[in-house]
């Protein structure tokens, strides 16, 4: 319905013909707002440039906690120019504003492999301004860019023992020791199955004790790896190296007490020559402190008798007196020698002695002059402290599991059997379905920690802080 009053023929009566020359309130408001929106952000940006503390506004993200002291000091890490022109060209991945030298002021950045064809720059893997997690947790694609096809990325081609890896678990080869069908190089007789018997083991005290893995395998303070087994801590209580004064001791309680004390101290768990030396010293000391004694005039009642010596025949007091004088010195030599021989036989020749656990290689050779020619030589135990040396593991992170879920110790009776898990064991949890971490750096370190080198260490605290400020 058109307006009855605003006749188009009579328009001048109704509208101001020059109205379009005057700015409307809406347009005026819009103009003010547009100018405001232009000036306000400009002021904010200028203010941010003017106040050094506000430079974080321009950062692509907060730096990680470890680098927070450089948060206001961009040049500390951004030592190179942005090289805008080069970045617009293809294949410019090597162009970095953060040089490796800037990182290596504080981080050693140990190399990955001496045979690597090209070493990527630090910042190509470690992305800063994305929080600590992103800085440390390097994505798998960094690893698989070479390891998916190792041959062109390694001087001399791919070694035979390293297989290509694309992912875990599906694209990961079996662990090296299983691929190489390695056996445990340990030179020690040990039966895990017997030690973990459900019925327990008989201890020297006559009681039965059920052993658990952790009774012997104790994690380190970080909870990562297992500390080496020590005879004194883990074996000695059930397998003491007992030595004894052999023979009958009667009468003198002081001597009886000394013999008892001697018997309580086992031989040291050291090499045979040292065991012999220690035993000899102890026996000589025993003889020195417990001299030969006769009770009354009865020559048949010796306090200490030499083992297997024949009973003394009846002698006249004069003969006995003479003999006693001679024997005093002989006893000092004879007693330790015989005792030592007996104890060494128990330790070094009996099946329950050292050979019970240790592998005898040969007898000593060429040392007759030193009196060592009859001593056995045992192989080094060669118990491996670390198995998967190219990976890391935390036993603490897996403490919710029984040890035997991964280590088949209950079925192992031979030392040569390897009790480490296979890749498929790990893959039961570490996969995309269960979602236990399964990326490369969960188990592997890029930097070869064995190839550490010293940092320059030229910084003083003052100099370091001065650099950090400027």
């Amino acid at each position: 319905m058109p307006s009855e009053f605003r006749d188009p023929k009579n328009l001048a009566n109704w509208i101001e013909l020059d109205y379009f020359r005057r700015p409307s309130p809406l347009r005026r408001w819009r103009r003010w707002i547009i100018w405001g929106s232009l000036v306000l952000p400009l002021l904010v940006v200028v203010a941010a440039f003017a106040f050094p503390g506000a430079s974080t506004l321009f950062q692509a993200g907060p730096v990680s906690d470890a680098h927070s002291m450089f948060n206001e000091d961009c040049q500390r890490c951004h030592t190179e120019s942005f090289q805008t022109v080069r970045r617009f060209l293809p294949w410019n991945e090597s162009v970095r504003a953060v040089s490796d030298q800037a990182c290596q002021q504080c981080h050693e950045g140990a190399r990955h492999s001496a045979r690597q064809v090209s070493e990527p720059s630090c910042s190509s893997c470690h992305r800063e301004h994305r929080g600590r997690t992103e800085l440390v947790a390097v994505r798998d694609s960094h690893c698989t860019s070479c390891h998916a096809n190792l041959e062109p990325h390694r001087q001399g081609g791919a070694p035979s023992q390293v297989e290509n890896v694309t992912s875990f678990p599906s694209g990961h080869p079996e662990f090296g020791l299983w691929r190489r069908q390695e056996s445990d190089p340990g030179q020690l007789h040990f039966n895990h199955k017997a030690h973990l018997a459900a019925g327990g083991l008989l201890t020297p005290t006559g009681q039965k004790r059920v052993l658990q893995c952790v009774d012997c395998h104790v994690p380190d303070s970080a909870g990562r790896y297992i500390q080496p087994i020590k005879y004194e801590n883990h074996c000695a209580s059930c397998h003491p190296l007992s030595v004894q004064i052999v023979g009958e001791v009667k009468g003198d309680p002081r001597v009886e007490q000394a013999v008892s004390a001697f018997n309580k101290i086992p031989a040291p768990h050291r090499e045979p020559a040292l065991v012999r030396a220690v035993l000899r010293d102890r026996l000589l000391e025993f003889v020195r402190t417990q001299p030969l004694k006769l009770q009354g005039d009865n020559p048949q009642t010796l306090d200490r008798s030499v083992p297997r010596s024949r009973p003394l025949e009846m002698a006249t007091p004069a003969q006995w007196k003479w003999t006693l004088g001679q024997l005093n010195d002989m006893e000092r030599l004879l007693f330790p020698h015989v005792q030592l021989e007996v104890n060494e036989r128990v330790l070094f020749q009996n099946a329950a002695g050292c050979r019970f656990c240790h592998v005898e290689k040969s007898r000593q050779a060429g040392t007759e002059a030193e009196g060592l020619s009859d001593l056995p030589r045992y192989a080094q135990t060669n118990i491996r402290a670390r198995w998967f040396e190219h990976s890391r593991f935390s036993h603490q992170s897996h403490q919710m599991l029984n040890c035997t879920e991964c280590h088949s110790a209950r079925e192992s009776s031979l030392t040569r059997e390897v009790l480490l898990p296979r890749a498929e064991t790990c893959a039961q949890c570490h996969n995309s379905r269960v979602k236990a971490a399964y990326d490369c750096n969960t188990c592997h370190d890029y930097h070869d920690r064995g190839a550490r080198h010293e940092l320059h260490k030229l910084n003083t605290i003052e100099g370091f802080l001065h650099k950090a400020k400027h």
Partner: protein, 310 residues
């Protein structure tokens, strides 16, 4: 029955957008979809081949940033185009508007890829928020630009130039004053206030006094350029009821035509009030969209400068 716009009766948003994006937009839509998909596919393939993914500073990230920024600048130039209406060689304004819509949307793909789908630091986060608001207000404005003209056509039969509405109101009020003066005589403010019983009786029996009182209390304020929200005559039913009562007054039988004209003036004022409201919704989004776009460009420049510096 609530108001319904044409085409709304069938009732689906799909139909609305089918009208918004009509056949003239089809090429733009297809072009945007194809280029956007290709850009995304290239980015994803490249990112999959790059260890750790792409960043804004990488080769592809930089180029995507440049392209996204260029599209944003192009979209922003629509406003600048108004300043140079004589530059017809730049192309039809309609084409620029379509480019503004579709290339502005396309910039979203390039900027997302440029950012590596990260929000970034404070500046970049601010840019994302502003960019999102610009997109949302733009889409809202596009909807309003489709809906409001149709509503104005239906609900405002006597549309007037928006800027002239206050002036027209004043003219209408002057005309109404003249009409009422002709019926009731010159306005005497004291006469309409009955102070005693006699005055009340006189008021009750005088139609002219009641007309004057009705005019001064309801009609005249309603014809003011700034009509109050609670004005009863904004409601057509109330208005019709009031005017019917006035027409029925015994001594105003001869003035029915004039009263009818007064009622039509009120109806036209009501129509202009609706136009004002609809016009506000039609253009008010620009008060948000344009300033945010300007802020986006300014902060975008700051982002480019700081990013290229480091």
């Amino acid at each position: 029955m609530p108001f319904r716009t044409p085409g709304w009766d069938e009732g689906t948003c799909r139909q609305v957008f089918a009208v918004l994006i009509d056949s003239t937009h089809r090429k733009w839509f297809l072009g945007t979809a194809i280029v956007g998909s290709l850009a995304l596919a290239v980015y994803l393939l490249w990112a999959a081949r790059t260890p750790g993914g792409l960043t804004g500073g990488s080769f592809l990230g930089l180029w995507y940033g440049v392209l996204g920024s260029a599209l944003m600048v192009y979209a922003g130039m629509l406003s600048a185009l108004r300043k140079v209406p004589r530059w017809t060689w730049l192309g039809a304004r309609k084409t620029w508007l379509r480019g503004h819509i579709w290339l502005g949307l396309l910039s979203c793909v390039f900027l997302l890829c440029h950012s590596g789908f990260h929000l970034g630091g404070p500046l970049e986060f601010s840019l994302w928020i502003i960019y999102l608001l610009v997109l949302v207000t733009g889409i809202y404005g596009l909807f309003m630009q489709w809906l409001m003209p149709r509503m104005i056509t239906v609900r405002v039969p006597c549309e007037a130039p928006y800027e002239q509405i206050p002036h027209i109101c004043l003219v209408m009020r002057q005309k109404a004053d003249d009409l009422v003066d002709a019926i009731c005589g010159p306005h005497d403010p004291g006469a309409a206030q009955p102070e005693n019983t006699m005055g009340a009786v006189q008021f009750a029996t005088s139609g002219k006094l009641q007309l004057r009182e009705f005019y001064e209390r309801d009609v005249r304020p309603f014809l003011d350029p700034r009509v109050p929200r609670e004005a009863p005559l904004l409601n057509p039913l109330i208005a019709e009821s009031r005017f019917s009562k006035v027409r029925a007054l015994p001594d105003l039988v001869d003035a029915r035509d004039s009263i009818g004209e007064l009622a039509r003036l009120c109806e036209e004022r009501r129509s202009l009030a609706i136009q004002t409201r609809l016009y506000f919704w039609l253009h008010s989004w620009l008060l948000v969209h344009i300033p945010l776009s300007v802020a986006l460009l300014v902060l975008g420049v700051a982002h480019v400068v700081t990013a290229l510096f480091y």
